[in-house]
Amino acid sequence: MMNLMDLLKWIINLVFSPWLFVPLIFPGLVTVFIVILFIIWFERKLAAKVQLRYGPLYVLKQLGGAIQLVADLLRYLFAEPIIPESADKLAFMLGPIFLFAASYIPTVAIPVSKSFYAFRSDISLLISLGLLTFGPAITLITGWASNDKFSLIGGLREGYLTMAYEIPLFISALSMAALYGTMDLIEIVESQVGWKWGLFLNPIAAITFLILALMSTSRFPFEIVEAESEIVMGPFTEYSGILYGLTMGASYVKFYVLCLLFSIMFLGGWKPVPKFLSWSPIAPGVILLLKSLAIMVLGVFMRAVYPRYRIDQALRMGWHIILPMSIGSVFLSLGLLLWGVVS
């Protein structure tokens, strides 16, 4: 009997040990799924509100169709994933899986609170951003493996866009690292004391980072890779069933990771924790999640407002406007350091 209790205790300890809890439960896999469920439902509800219609309604009517996506996911699971005869089968099948994984793996480097993280590294900002860059390469591979002209064009669009958004994304993130004098996400949060959130210190970096987060996850107005009226579904044209579901989820996961990073770098992360909640071990994580969700809602709301840019216009924007802006944000950070606004 004691043995069983010991075993149970060991299992609970294992699950709640940070190096398992962070990648698997929060902010990892389980939370990722809940966030996807929520944000896709909310996106559809929000767009429906603007467009004078109901949106998802009939699956769990009491909550306004909140679990519509569960039904969709089940349908994806049981639908036959059709693999085209002429496709490169291995790459075609593994592409979406790797794409989803590459979007979600960066969560391991993201700390949830001052003392709760999978591992502490003094370059965790760089690790999480670096891991995110796997995605576009895999998108390109899926586009090629599908052996379809629309997929090929979509993959190439992703390739071109990657060039345009990744460099300024890194520069604007690193300008914040320069400002705080560290690349450790925990120290970044801890150095945002009082009103000195990154958003107020360096708004240029915040704006560029947000725009590039939209661009890199093909949200409107940069929904260029999957532009439906032009190239059907871009690199994912040939996918069906759960493989398609993974490709669709991947961009939301990537957006979620970028929003976590945004709230850590610019919105003070898990701070401020209200006094009456300071005893709770989950309060910092919940605050971080809520901040990220707020940014995600802002991001998905763009769907209701904007049409999409053309690829050359988005590239021009990336190279001619966003890149100079991100370089400007570096100088702003250096200026703030020189003037002694931050120590």
Partner: protein, 388 residues
């Protein structure tokens, strides 16, 4: 080693934004070198079918090719038929025809704007366009009894009189649509992304537009003030005041703005027509006298037409007739040849979309792949109307 630079992209007929047609695009990188529209997927032999049908049966037939624009197709055919028969509708019927035609123009333009919106990626404008189109459909349903295929205009008149209280409801509907147009202006037309996508894209020069025989809003967006309602007025148009909306730019944005402007002009026409509409019968005296007195009483109380028996077997005298009207998408031509029997000897309809299809090849050249739907949407091209 030979290098293949150009890939052939088959857009449609199973493509989210191709419509019932196929666009064969030759693409060099992201630049469209050449595009050929492949039409005919929804050809329904309307012209040949009309030669087997009686004159009155052709009315529902000509409505089918263009479901967004049925009243104008109906009107065009009936005008040609009336010329053959030598009858003319009374003034009240002429006004009712004008009102329905303009209501149809409004909902056809909203349809076009909605489709254009989704082709650019703005799902909001798509949903709004299709929702606001519904206003005019509901009003037309009240007037005619059908949502889309009204078959309202018959030789010598119209089928029904204005319902009680129609003017007030129409005023409400028009006020609502005016408010909505301001919302469109805010979210779509002044949207920087829309402007970036449409301005300077697919420019149709004035001389090219004339040379290619383009009609309708696409022609007027290139600076040619040609409108059949002004050039060869029919129905109540000579008595009504309205402007021909013209823009000089000739790009996709101009075509969109011309449509918005025409919606406003149509509202103006409807308001005037409802104010000026004269009292009187809604069926020509030629047919009215054939209706038995009992049915005449019915007609007066119910304010709707009871068809005289002769309508079933109309036999126009030998001859030919030609009519043209300004449909929502442009000039619509009907040509009917009668050999004195109950069916036409030859029936010809030239639809505006068919005359505009040449623009695909002309405009979508040396532009980006993403411009294909942007230009396609701006043309308001409707494949079934072109294929007939």
């Amino acid at each position: 080693m030979s290098e293949e630079r150009i890939i052939e992209l088959l857009i449609g007929p199973q493509h989210p934004s191709s419509g019932h047609m196929r666009l064969v695009a030759e693409v060099d990188g992201d630049v469209v070198v050449r595009l050929k529209p492949n039409i005919g997927y929804v050809h329904r032999t309307v012209e040949k079918l009309a030669e087997t049908k009686k004159y009155i049966q052709i009315i529902p037939l000509v409505e089918r090719p263009s479901l967004a624009d049925t009243a104008n197709h109906n009107l065009g055919y009936v005008l040609a038929l009336e010329k053959l028969l030598g009858v003319e509708a009374p003034p009240r019927a002429q006004y009712l025809r004008t009102i329905l035609a303009e209501m149809n123009r409004i909902h056809s333009h909203f349809y076009g704007i909605g489709i254009h919106g989704i082709m650019l990626g703005s799902s909001t404008v798509f949903m709004w366009g299709f929702a606001d189109r519904e206003i005019m459909i509901e009003m037309a349903q009240w007037l005619t009894g059908a949502r889309l295929t009204y078959s309202y205009i018959i030789p010598g008149g119209v089928r029904r009189d204005l319902p009680q209280g129609f003017e007030d409801e129409m005023e409400k509907a028009l006020r609502y649509l005016e408010r909505r147009l301001e919302d469109y202006d805010r979210i779509f037309i002044r949207n920087p992304v829309t402007r970036a996508r449409l301005e300077g894209v697919g420019v149709l020069k004035k001389e090219d537009a004339i040379r290619l025989g383009i009609v309708g809003p696409n022609l007027r967006a290139s600076g040619v003030p040609y409108d059949v309602r002004k050039v060869q007025p029919y129905c109540a148009y000579p008595e009504l005041e309205f402007d021909v909306v013209v823009r000089e730019e000739g790009d996709s944005m101009a075509r969109l703005l011309v449509r918005i402007g025409e919606i406003k002009q149509s509202m103006r026409i409807i308001r005037q027509a409802l104010k000026q509409i004269p009292d009187g019968p809604i069926l020509s005296e030629n047919y009215l006298k054939m209706i038995p007195p009992k049915w005449k009483e019915f007609m007066e109380t119910k304010r709707r037409v009871k068809f005289p028996a002769i309508m079933a077997n109309l036999r126009p005298p030998k001859g030919e007739a030609f009519s043209r009207v300004e449909a929502a998408r442009g000039e619509l031509i009907y040509y009917v040849v009668s050999d004195g029997s109950v069916t036409p000897y030859r029936f010809r309809m030239v639809t505006p979309s068919f005359r505009n299809v040449v623009l695909f090849e002309h405009l979508i050249r040396e532009c980006r792949v993403a411009d294909i739907p942007a230009i396609y949407g701006s043309l308001d091209y409707f494949p079934p109307e072109a294929d007939r």
